[in-house]
């Protein structure tokens, strides 16, 4: 075929040689050399292997691995499930003062910071320097330096075994995580999936060091040593939000300031609000709108074009925000809503991986649809177990992606106890009232807090947490629920053998299921002034929003500070997209043009699933919601949180401006 075309062209001598060469290459392919020969040659040539087999369509996953019909490469099997305990995220420790220069609302006078003088470099660095200078908005107003709880975290490479040590004792993966630089009372440093406990009314200042390897080589093929830690779902100013272009190189640090103040504090609710409960009949006052109180947030890397790689590499942890100030979600099960607390409050990060024969993570940076791993992990362990006491627990589920949607449910050997969960939160928010559910679907970055009551089980009973949602590729789930099997089980709860019931000071299940938590914020006071439409589509294989390509200097909307807008997102289907908006949460007013009915639509949201299988097997082509733009000025993104899509520019940016700005409302 090639020959024929070349014949019609004007030959030079060189082209004749080219023609001969190509014919020979064609001949060899047509010759039908035996498979055995080719196999031998292919391997001895050092070509073949991983991407050769899977190519860009390298997509091992639950359903494919189970059917074995396709030629996808699969991770080493887990033949000894439930032999390692669930890693429990350790709480980062706050320090009185930073070592090195003191914090400042803008540029530190002393940007140079020795971390480890004389004790050898970290990540190749003896010292670190301040990354950039941006003034923290409202720093003095919210108490400045004196008000802050200070943390020192460092992004670092650690060795980690995703598999059980019993089955693969020598497995090791180079994982990039946030690591606490300060030890807890036991002398341990929180690392891996960790958590930061914050309280409303007390700002957090997180000095984040980038201690990732200096030369950026030997990355196992993916990841970049530049980070932008984003506190997902927080109502934060853009200079501390961790947006895609505000990344820091390895060897730098930056002070991220999280004011932990409720939306409306400087705009619609300047006088603050008061929450009343039985213990406080006179009420407890707080700045902003108490009905914007949040609970389960997380922080993860957001470096433009590399979010998927860096988050997959391990840069993801929890930020649990408590509201002791209004006696709500207090981190103490004897007060407020009396939610299970302390060691009975356990965050669970679900993320799927593809691993090689040595337990090393594999990532295909040439995949455009989304990465779906065939090994699903919980807090970075494949099939761990957790021994639970016979009492109530609060679990905080987070779908850490990169591209897999999950639907979580329980199954049990003890069939007399209903396998329902009491869902108390959606995304970062406590619901108006808890709901008893049999399963929970989460798109990437969505969260759900649940109460599971193990007191009804007998000692020794076994309960599995499962993901039964079918997803065949990175485009999104099919919506089909798979039968329960060894493949779908993610975490094994083993009910403690102790016969006496342990102390449980949290509220009774009946109370937890019926008490008012956080009513939806009032939408009537600040009426919608501007309506916008954003259509998520493609153009020649590239993502476009309203027909436009992402550009880092393009601002697509200029909402006026303090205003409320109505946004409609549309997507033609063929894909599933969990769309995330930074800055403030929104309330859904219509799905496919109709008033929403599903539980997770009837709460505050910061991620919404649109496109295929958004709910059940049904797709959603249009979502309408109301969102306010309060308290902070500046630029924020809206993007798809299938982070592979995000990295291929499925994103826009908007900028909140003062109402007097000439662009306001444009």
């Amino acid at each position: 075929m090639f020959k024929k075309i070349i014949q019609v062209t004007n030959f030079s001598k060189q082209e004749k040689a080219v023609e001969r060469y190509m014919k020979e290459v064609n001949d060899i392919q047509e010759a039908g050399v035996t498979r055995r020969e080719l196999f031998k040659m292919g391997l001895s040539a050092g070509v073949g292997g991983l991407t050769a087999i899977g190519g860009g369509a390298f997509l091992p996953n639950l359903a494919q691995a189970a059917s074995s019909k396709t030629s996808s490469i699969i991770s080493p099997p887990c033949n000894k499930p439930w032999s390692d305990p669930l890693p429990i995220p350790q709480t980062a420790v706050s320090v009185g003062n930073f070592r090195g220069p003191g914090p400042d609302k803008g540029q530190c006078l002393e940007p140079h910071n020795l971390w480890n003088p004389g004790k050898g470099p970290i990540g190749g660095f003896e010292d670190f320097t301040e990354a950039r200078t941006e003034v923290h908005q409202r720093w003095d107003e919210l108490g400045g330096d004196a008000a802050c709880a200070k943390y020192e975290l460092m992004a670092q490479e650690i060795d980690w075994n995703f598999y059980s040590a019993a089955e693969y004792p020598t497995f090791n993966s180079k994982v990039w995580t946030y690591k606490d630089m300060n030890p807890n009372s036991k002398g341990e440093f929180a690392t891996g999936v960790l958590r930061l406990k914050a309280q409303y009314g007390q700002p957090v200042l997180m000095r984040m060091y980038n201690g990732l390897p200096k030369d950026g080589r030997d990355t196992q093929g993916f990841g970049i040593n530049q980070i932008s830690p984003h506190l997902h779902n927080a109502h934060n100013p853009p200079e501390s939000d961790g947006g895609p272009m505000r990344f820091l190189d390895s060897g730098k640090w930056y002070d991220y300031w999280y004011p932990n103040v409720r939306a409306g504090f400087a705009s619609t609710h300047k006088a603050g609000t008061t929450r009343y409960d039985a213990a406080n009949p006179k009420g407890l006052w707080c700045p902003g709108d108490w009905q914007e109180t949040q609970s389960t947030l997380w922080f993860h890397d957001h470096r433009m074009d590399f979010t998927a790689q860096n988050v997959y590499k391990g840069l993801a942890s929890f930020y649990t925000l408590f509201s002791k100030d209004i006696n709500l979600d207090t981190d103490d099960e004897t007060t407020g809503l009396r939610l299970p607390s302390g060691k009975y409050d356990i965050p669970l990060l679900f993320t799927d991986k593809v691993l090689d024969q040595t337990g090393q993570m594999f990532f295909d940076s040439f995949n455009i649809e989304g990465i779906v791993g065939d090994q699903q992990t919980v807090n970075f362990k494949i099939k761990p177990f957790l021994t639970v006491e016979r009492r109530k627990y609060r679990f905080r589920f987070l779908d850490g992606g990169p591209s897999r949607f999950i639907e979580l449910s329980l199954s049990s050997t003890n069939t007399t106890v209903p396998t329902t969960m009491t869902r108390i939160a959606n995304c970062g928010n406590l619901l108006p009232k808890a709901q008893v559910v049999s399963s929970i679907r989460l798109g990437v970055a969505e969260r759900a807090d649940v109460i599971i009551d193990f007191s009804k089980y007998k000692p020794g009973d076994v309960i599995y947490l499962e993901n039964r949602l079918e997803q065949l590729n990175g485009k999104g789930p099919t919506g089909k629920i798979l039968p329960s099997s060894a493949k779908t089980q993610l975490l094994k709860f083993i009910v403690s053998s102790a016969t006496a019931l342990p102390v449980d000071s949290s509220a009774s299940l009946a109370t937890l299921q019926t008490q008012v938590m956080v009513p939806m914020p009032d939408r009537t006071k600040n009426p919608v002034k501007v309506k916008r439409k954003f259509d998520f589509g493609t153009s020649n294989g590239a993502w476009v929003v309203n027909g436009k390509f992402f550009s880092p200097n393009l601002i697509s909307a200029y909402p006026a500070e303090g205003s409320r807008e109505e946004w409609t997102l549309t997507s033609p289907g063929g894909w599933a997209h969990p769309v995330h908006i930074h800055h403030e949460e929104f309330q859904i007013t219509a799905r496919n043009g109709r008033a929403p009915t599903a539980l997770d639509d009837l709460s505050r949201k910061d991620v919404v699933r649109i496109g295929d299988a958004a709910q059940g097997t049904a797709g959603t082509t249009s979502i309408t919601f109301e969102v306010q733009f309060r308290d902070w000025y500046g630029d924020y993104p809206m993007h798809c949180h299938n982070v592979v899509h995000e990295d291929h520019a499925m994103m826009i940016r908007f900028k909140i401006v003062p109402p007097t700005d000439p662009n306001a409302g444009k």
């Binding site: 075929m1 090639f2 070349i6 062209t9 004007n10 060189q14 080219v18 060469y21 190509m22 290459v25 001949d27 060899i28 392919q29 050399v33 080719l38 196999f39 040659m41 040539a45 050092g46 070509v47 073949g48 292997g49 991983l50 991407t51 050769a52 087999i53 860009g56 369509a57 997509l59 996808s72 490469i73 950026g216 030997d218 990355t219 093929g221 993916f222 970049i224 190189d249 433009m304 074009d305 090689d356 024969q357 090393q360 295909d364 040439f366 455009i368 153009s539 020649n540 294989g541 590239a542 993502w543 476009v544 880092p552 393009l554 601002i555 200029y558 063929g574 630029d635 990295d647 900028k655």
Partner: protein, 216 residues
Amino acid sequence: MNKRNFLKNLTGASLGAAALAFVPESVAKTHAPVIGSQASRSKKTFPNVPVITHEGKVVRFYDDLIKDKIVMINFTYTDCKGICPGMTANLKRVYKEFGERMGKDVFMYSISLKPEHDTPAILKAYTEMHKIQPGWTFLTGTKANIELLREHLGYKFSDPGLDNDKSQHLGVVKFGIESLERWGMAPALGDAKYLAEYVRWMEPNGSRPVLAELLG
């Protein structure tokens, strides 16, 4: 040259490429990846297949075009009337952004999606018509090899209908620093200045985002 001799004479690398299409199913199923060294990863990621430049030179894709280079890669075809002329024009702007680095450490490659039509001569004529300068090479090859490159470089959709539509592979450009294994992808019609910046931002001593420019 008979087939047997040809087989013997061919380099291992190009043989491997020919072998790719025939990897036995049993091997495919059980062969879990071993990440290994960067060199072995690169060999697996980038088929070292022979391709032909618009100058008529036969080169190996990995050894001669990718290894130790900073590259931008897109797919196109010469008789594409849709967005292709605009894309070529935009990539010329990107070329200008890199200036003197083009052909020294930065290279651009446009691979034909219609190798059976785009002979080296046709590509040559195309580059002359568009005044393409050194450092930017148009490539063709056997249909099988070009398909292999398309799959490996991520220009592949799992939906066969979508995948068969050539126009779906035109709109994005892949860019990377091979020695650091840093790879990104962006719309080929995006702002040319930033397409170049995306590459420089990835470089250890490259430029960094200037916030003042990005705030609208």
